[in-house]
Amino acid sequence: MSARLARQKGEWVNRASTIKFSFEGKEFSGFEGDSITSALWASGEQVLGRSFKYHRPRGILSLANHDINVMVTDGMDTNIRGDVVPVAAGMALAAVNTDGGVKKDRSRLIDSISPLLPVGFYYKAFHTPKKMFPFWENIIRKAAGLGVVNFNYPRILKRKLHAHCDVLVIGGGATGLSAAYEAGKSGLRVVLVDENAQLGGSLGFDWGGSQESANLLQELLAKLESLPNVSLIAGAYAAGYYPDHLIPVVTREGITKVRAGSVIMASGAFEQPPVFRNNDIPGVMLGSAAQRLLHRYSVKPFSNGVVFTANDYGYRVAQDLLEAGIKLAAVVDLRSDAKDGPLAAQLARRGVKTIAGSCIYEVQANADKTGVKSVTVTEYDEKTNEALTRDKVTLECDGVAMCAGWAPAANLLYQAGTAMRYDYGVHQFVPNRLPAGIFAAGRVNGVYELAQKVQDGARAAAQALLHIGLDVPELPSVQPSTRAQSHAYPIVPHPKGKNFVDFDEDIQVKDFINAAKEGFDNIELMKRFTTVGMGPSQGKHSNMNAIRILARVRGVPVEQIGTTTSRPFFHPTPIGHLGGRGFHPHRLTPLHDVNHKLGAVFTDVGAWKRAAYYKVAGLGVADTVLAEVEAVRTKAGIIDSSSFGKIEVHGPDAALFLERFFTGNYISQAVGSSRYTMLLDESGVVVDDGLAHRLAEDLFYLSSGTSNAAAVYREMQRWQQIWQLDIGLVNVTGAYAAINVAGPLARQVLSGLVNISLDDSALPAQSIRETEIAGVPVRLIRVAFVSDSTYELHIPTPQAAFVWERVMGAGQALGLKPFGTDAQRLLRLEMGHAMPGIDTDGLTNPYEINAQHAIGMDKPDFIGKRSLQIIAKRPVKKTLVAFALEAGYAGEMPFECNLVIRQGEIEGRVTSIAYSGTIGRVIGFAYVAPEHSALGSRFQIRADSGALVNATVVSSQFLAMQK
């Protein structure tokens, strides 16, 4: 039977468009604009889900994403929130967390043994024997849970956007719309976001039997339409608050990070259910949920209902129900003073009796437990908070609308650092001290009357404009409602329980009392023990009642209990939204395409893509690398080193700057020569090394490894800020490409290309010259990193490919081969060069790597000198040594970071290790105890399998061991 009402003004559904879908294998239809829940309810379906723990049948609670009674799967996606997700044609839906369907869920039997399963039962019952816990855990996880994750879910990455505005208004109800209009009149950029599919907030459903709200909504929207600088965005929730007014706004399309000059929180309040036995049976719903059904979707919540209220709001709900033609058996009001008030009189005139000072003691389900059969009403003692069961009245009905009060939707206010206070007039937490630039208005501020909400929104807008520097008059403040909008304790005890506080987690009143008895009487502890507020709706419908219960149990005021920590995100947000379409910045050398054509296989070195090796048909990686090494050792090799860091230091104080920045001496360095550089941090730890090439008295050209280049440049800038020397720092890493030509034939390869002599006498080791290749300016540097005979060509980046081709052409007949970073690392190891970052770690000082030769302790100062003076007085704890495995070793190959073991104890670790074809041995570097660092000392390396491999300390001049 259809529960759809006749067409009415303001309804969200488009009756011209019928949507067909299925639920639990049965065909249904709804209208475009229906949520899944409203479409099902309109079709007479009331059991829309099963509860998390006891598998109790559930229907509508809030119809507002403040609970998760209705969670469905469409086979692909899961945990779809039926209350707010629009129904779509062809959907094949089923409730999550059932065993055999939502109506015949076999796990419903758990409900009958619920007394055996109090909160935390599994910790207590199954923690011993420990080995059995996985068994029990498996059973419990299957019995309790939500949707099943679909590991075949497609990878949908949503765009992440940034937006900026002067004023961001959160919430599109009367208060928010009023605030947006007032702020928008300034002409500034105003953005309003609201999580609902349409704007209006409670104006769209809380009518109280009149058209005042609906008319106001039309009026406000019309006024806002005239302001093009105001963006109104529905279906978008403000998901969290981050410093400097950064607020991620989530829509179905993705996340937009909004940065606002000021923020107005007009986020309203969550309606809180009164707590009584069987308050979760389908058909028992919040008053606002009944109104949403009526006015958004034109669906009857029930036909013959009872309103159970503890505030005046229940009377507005009752009026709306009556206007929709729904019979009311009674209004049951928890407050004893309600019977003589005007609200009760108004209802009486419409033939509805008010039973004041009473409560619904329990709800009786119909035969198949799919809905309400009747309710039992008793007197309620507001002083003792007990139901007086001597006189029970049973009212036949098929639904209950519950109204007990509100909790402010203050999540983002808490996250922003707002100090809240409990207001005993409105009986609600309200903002006490707001952070700069944040303003609260409307229900979240304790303001409930319609006219006052509009006024409060305007007041907040004026303050927001003042905050961002506009000269506008401040408007008078609006005080929180003096009439309680929430009941201080809308809890009805029942010896049989099932009076639910948290519907997500099936938590009853007794669970809180027991938790407190066990010592979990702090709100944060209670939360974790009972799991209240830890379900998917994050306490939106349960935290306030939990606080009230705990306050009562402990006998302290509510404000002493406080609230739990509010964290982003406001609603669960898909991982695809959070991850978004990511960016992965990477740098390509100007020779990338050249390398690619040569068969390069690339590897990531910092942000750079570098050629690791060049594929050779029929050859494995290891042999390919060894062949590249062999080419360098026997003929010549060429490598793209463009990623090396390159920095120019200009100016009269350039040498002085280097003296202070690095450990070595540079004032005396001759023009045209190169010197080693070592950089320490202030604690004396080795950070980086490289070379300083002096191009002129007032110009040094620094080259360093790939990974640290940017960090070293930043550090130089930082120190220059402190030292204020007469220099200019220029990072030319991207401006110059670098090509190394290495090997015994390297000189021959280059000699025909450059117009200077490459003889040792003209270009000795560690020297630099400026020359040209085919008209391209080149800085030619003689280095010895991978081979004694290595020439480094630094050329303007756009001309790199041109020069590379010239060099390759010149070397073709001489057997010049490209080599990659894998061969480079082995070549440098063979040369006996330890590398910072590979052979050092975040604690290594120069003495531990035998780098005393690079330290000018006689200099007035350099970074780390004071620390080195202290370190030098202490015994060295570890020493980096060169080692080799036995000749012909064919056992398990140790790896870098394998431990050095001596007599069962850890002595050090391997930092570099590789098989050198040149030498015919496995060689490497490792840290050992200083007393075991002498040449010929032996130690053992524990390989991955645990096998101990013998190694011997050797000279770092590995090439001297050559066969």
């Binding site: 910045p585 050398t589 100007p590 980046t797 756009p798 001309q799």
Partner: protein, 223 residues
Amino acid sequence: MQTEKLITPIAHAFPVGSVTWGVINGMQVVTRFVGSDEEEARKEFLGIADASFLGKFGVKGRNAAQWLQDQGIVVPEQPNSWAGNADGSLVLRLGGSEFLIEDAPGGNLCEKLLKADAKPAGVYLVPHVEASFVLSGNAVQELFAEVCSIDLTRAALGVQEVVMTQFAGVSVVLMHQDLEGEARYRVWCDSSYGPYLWEVMAGIANEHSGGPIGIGNYFSAYQ
């Protein structure tokens, strides 16, 4: 074997075969990506062009501003702002004492500056080989909203402002210019990030019915 000495730093990102290559300022560049009508249409929505071939010159140091003025260059008064020379070349003041100058289309100011007399004390040459982009179109703000976290709308930028920010994780310099009757944004980044940033921006441009177009769509000198 490559015969041209210069090749655009964005070359890696350009599709092979389907585009028209040419040489501008001695640099190999793509002069056309699709048919002229389609490029016109792309430009309307979100056009992106490679302007890396334009000559660039940089100096920094405490006397850099004075030296530039001595060379007859208009120097922006405020840090992080730009000015245009009479010949159409751009002068960007990157902070207090660093300058980037870019030739006007067809101009050679940067070459002249490079060959100018020896620089005095406190003036240091800064080589510039950045990848350089021109962007325009109705959807350009949507691209900015995705790649950049700061407000780059016209209202926020001001008239002559130079912004140093990050696009999709890469440091860029950005300015806005009204030229040849349309609003354009200019973006420069380290040449090694050029292909990456081109791919990101061109990909987003495609989603907004735009995409890569030849530089002739922006500078009539290259039509």
